[in-house]
């Protein structure tokens, strides 16, 4: 009897051991359906581009579908389709969710990979990444929030312009998809009436890969692997011929060059500033009778991108930056200031699990896609529900990300205009629930980005506007709960972000996409 019990227990134990502890995870972006636009937005050739309204691009006239070259292209597709491996089917499944979506995810991944502050030199100074030598430590770029906001904006805006241009050529050449030209080509993605030359996927891949040359120059091997994989997907799926692809990729690169020319001269390259600049912020704050911000890192790190305010905004007129800038923060010693400071101290001692959760959810710090990236992720998960065309996906991401880039400029302008300290600098002993970012307190970057993002998303998806703004508010307040910002930093940040977001909404109302 005793033996039986032992035996049964042993069997049960083994069964328990083998079955307990789940290891499988299905990620949210894994099982997305293939993009099947409810409206192919055939008139997108008339939408207003961001930068390329007056540019001219060249796409060679495609060969007729009866030519030997085109027939060879079709045969290539059929030969792929004859023996698709399960790995190739996975590639089709992955990319068919949408080109703009997948490239946005790839960008977020690169931002997260590179969002790491450089480690100090032996003498206590800090090295800066070099675009000329991106793979040496510290690797280029350090994709902190302003850098990331700008990268998301340029890539989204360039994708949008490239697709508007592609639509023009699609309509003028009007060559149908391979599965329409040959009954023996299977459509392994939902069929579309959109002309297939030049390929919209190739346009997105081409423009994005070319933008990466500037933005993530150390990862071009990874990028090119993705381009090749997407190209293979379009061919295997019967959605494009090789010539459809090549024309699109080439057009994408041409459009990217317009954006690269702007990005190379937008002053972001000088945003790090010099020792003289850093010192000047301090002297100016003192001269104004304020306590200047100091870095709370050891050794003290130069402030993050103090000359980012000088970057040319993409939506706002440059002169508008100073007009959107909010009024000064509460002065030390005033009742409002003391009240805000006491609140931060109380938050520091508040061990509410809910606060910890909110702080962690919105922290988006080191090693993450940054707050603008988090809003891209929120947007992408919303966009997949709407079955938009690629060009509408791109347009909506462009509005979102241009707003976030300008939010970064306005927020950084405010931060360095007032150069005011974090609560933790003013009172020793404040414990924070997340790392303290290395730049002045007023106004909260998280709140500003979130206000701008929620305003744009609320315009694009009005039925969820209230919800997006509630999320933005939570993102902003998470910085107060975390003990790294005053309430005023968060509320003014949110309101300022909303103002920036309105610029994108106004653009959206007049760009012809409605």
């Amino acid at each position: 009897m005793k033996k039986n019990i032992l035996y049964i227990s042993a069997v049960l134990a083994v069964a328990l051991f083998a079955s307990s502890c789940k290891k499988d995870i299905t990620e949210r972006n894994q099982d997305l359906p293939a993009l099947a636009p409810a409206n192919i937005d055939l008139n997108a050739d008339t939408w207003v581009p961001i930068l390329t309204g007056a540019s001219s691009f060249t796409v060679a006239t495609p060969e007729a579908i009866t030519t030997p070259n085109y027939l060879a292209d079709l045969n290539e597709i059929k030969s792929y389709q004859k023996n698709l491996t399960s790995e190739q089917k996975d590639i089709i499944k992955y990319w068919s969710a949408g080109s703009v979506l997948r490239w946005n995810e790839i960008l977020r991944e690169l931002v997260a990979k590179h969002n790491l502050p450089p480690y100090q030199n032996d003498d206590g100074s800090y090295p800066f990444p070099s675009a000329a030598n991106p793979l040496a430590y510290p690797q280029f770029p350090f994709s902190n929030p302003p850098y990331a906001a700008r990268a998301y904006a340029y890539i989204s805006a360039a994708q949008y312009d490239a697709l508007v241009q592609a639509w023009k050529f699609k309509k003028s050449f009007n060559r149908a998809a391979p599965y329409k030209n040959d009954v023996n080509v299977q459509a392994l993605v939902p069929k579309s009436d959109l002309p297939s030359y030049p390929s919209e996927d190739a346009t997105v891949a081409g423009v994005t890969a070319q933008m990466m040359v500037l933005l993530f120059p150390g990862d071009l091997d990874f990028i090119q692997k993705k381009v090749a994989e997407e190209k293979l997907y379009r061919l295997m799926a019967g959605a494009n011929t090789r010539s459809d692809w090549d024309a699109g990729e080439n057009l994408g690169k041409q459009v990217a060059n317009v954006f690269l020319a702007r990005a190379r001269t937008d002053k972001a390259g000088a945003a790090i500033g010099t020792q003289a600049d850093w010192t000047k912020f301090e002297t100016d704050a003192k001269a104004a009778g304020n306590t200047p911000w100091i870095s709370l890192e050891l050794p003290h790190r130069p402030p993050m991108l103090p000359l980012f305010p000088k970057v040319t905004p993409i939506l706002l007129p440059a002169a508008a930056v100073a007009t959107v800038r909010p009024a000064a923060p509460y002065k030390e010693g005033t009742a409002e200031y003391e009240k805000d400071l006491k609140e931060v101290m109380a938050m520091s001692n508040d061990h509410s699990r809910d606060h910890e959760r909110i702080v962690a959810f919105w922290a988006d710090g080191v090693g993450t896609a940054t707050p603008p990236g988090h809003w891209n992720s929120i947007a992408a998960e919303e966009f997949v529900k709407h079955n938009w065309s690629e060009v509408r996906w791109a347009r909506n991401f462009a509005l979102l990300n241009m707003a976030q880039m300008d939010a970064a400029i306005v927020c950084w302008d405010t931060k360095y205009f007032y150069f005011n300290p974090r609560p933790t600098q003013m009172v020793a002993g404040i414990k924070t629930l997340t790392g303290i970012p290395n730049f002045p307190s007023y106004i909260s970057g998280h709140a500003t980005f979130s206000g701008a993002a929620a305003t744009v998303l609320g315009y694009l998806v009005p039925e969820r506007a209230t919800e997006f703004m509630a999320m933005a508010n939570e993102a902003g307040m998470s910085r107060l709960y975390g003990g790294i910002h005053y309430r005023n930093d968060c509320t003014v940040g949110l309101a300022t972000g909303v103002k920036v977001g309105e610029y994108a909404v106004n653009r959206g109302k007049t760009d012809g996409a409605n």
Binding site: S20, K22, I25, R28, L116, E297, L298, G365, G367, S377
Partner: protein, 311 residues
């Protein structure tokens, strides 16, 4: 009965807290060859202090001026019960506080996981001049507190359910013994507060797969009715996981390896029947993505029979 009590010795629980960048606690009873007899209960209370100021970022050993020294206090209480002379069960639950000496990041505090174990002495045979025993130990841990597992290096633990099996061989000649053990730990996925994270690639989920782990131990020492002195070396290895990249934050699914050496002294005053006092220490001599921890611990146990002894 009395013979058995003396023979197996009345050691109860001690604690060896293995502290990586997270704090994992395992009751020492599941890693030694000591059994308590049928119907005996051991109530144990322990305290351990951990601290480190250097850690391995991947394989690179470094300090962090913005953390200074990371320390934790562990208060562990639990019980071991003799279901039979060959089967013991135990349950322990630690309360942990963590903090850093520099920077502003707030430490954590709270109950960690309940640790349950069944120890079965499967073999006990006279071989040569000595006594050989083999023990199979099954154990598991279940998070109790709602703490943040994704808050290293301050997290109280990874907030994962885990299940482990261990085989332990002990050979004793007179008052001297040597022991060796191997353990395989299987860990459940955890849920974190974030909705995405980057390891070596991006993940859009709040679920994190933790690598399983092995834990090997060798120990040797002296045991008498009064005193137990032993030296212990352990090697904990995660099977998978990724390295912390340069100047990045640690993450629960990092590869976390640690080799530690230490010693343990237990004293059983014969004048106070049933009481045991334990002092111990261990130090991480090699590691990967863990802190170079020094632990000092002390504990008091009380062992008693819950049934009247049959004469």
């Amino acid at each position: 009965m009395k013979y058995l009590l003396q023979y197996t010795y009345r050691y109860c629980a001690g604690i060896i807290a293995f502290v990586a960048l997270s704090q994992t606690v395992c009751a020492q009873t599941e890693s030694d060859a000591i059994m308590i007899p049928k119907n005996y209960l051991c109530i144990a209370g322990m305290y351990a202090h951990n601290n480190w100021d250097h850690y391995w970022e991947g394989t690179l050993k470094r300090e962090n001026l913005n953390l200074g020294t990371i320390s934790s206090n562990i208060y562990n209480v639990g019980a071991v019960y003799g279901l039979s002379n060959r089967i013991n069960v135990s349950a322990f639950m630690p309360y942990i506080q963590t903090k850093a000496s520099a920077g502003t990041l707030r430490g954590q505090r709270g109950f960690q996981d309940i640790n349950l174990a069944v120890k079965w002495m499967a073999v006990r045979e006279q071989i040569g001049r000595g006594l050989l025993s083999f023990h199979a130990i099954a154990s598991g841990s279940i998070p109790v507190g709602n703490y943040q597992g994704d808050y290293l290096p301050f997290a109280l633990g990874s907030r994962s359910k885990s299940i482990a099996i261990r085989g332990l061989v002990n050979y004793q000649i007179g008052r001297f013994f040597v022991a060796g053990a191997g353990q395989y730990i299987r860990k459940d996925n955890i849920t974190i507060d974030r909705d995405a994270y980057y390891t070596t690639e991006m993940h859009y989920t709040n679920q994190v797969a933790l690598p399983n782990a092995t834990n090997f131990l060798v120990s040797a020492g002296f045991r008498s009715l009064l005193l137990n002195v032993e030296a212990i070396a352990t090697k904990y290895t995660t099977l998978g996981g990724f390295d912390i990249t340069r100047n990045n934050m640690p993450f629960p699914s990092n590869r976390m390896n640690a080799t530690a050496v230490g010693g343990l002294v237990k004293y059983m005053p014969q004048t106070l029947k049933g009481l045991e006092f334990t002092l111990g220490s261990n130090y991480v001599v090699a590691g990967r993505n863990v802190g170079q921890n020094l632990q000092v611990m002390g504990g008091v146990d009380y062992v008693f029979s819950v049934k009247k002894e049959k004469k």
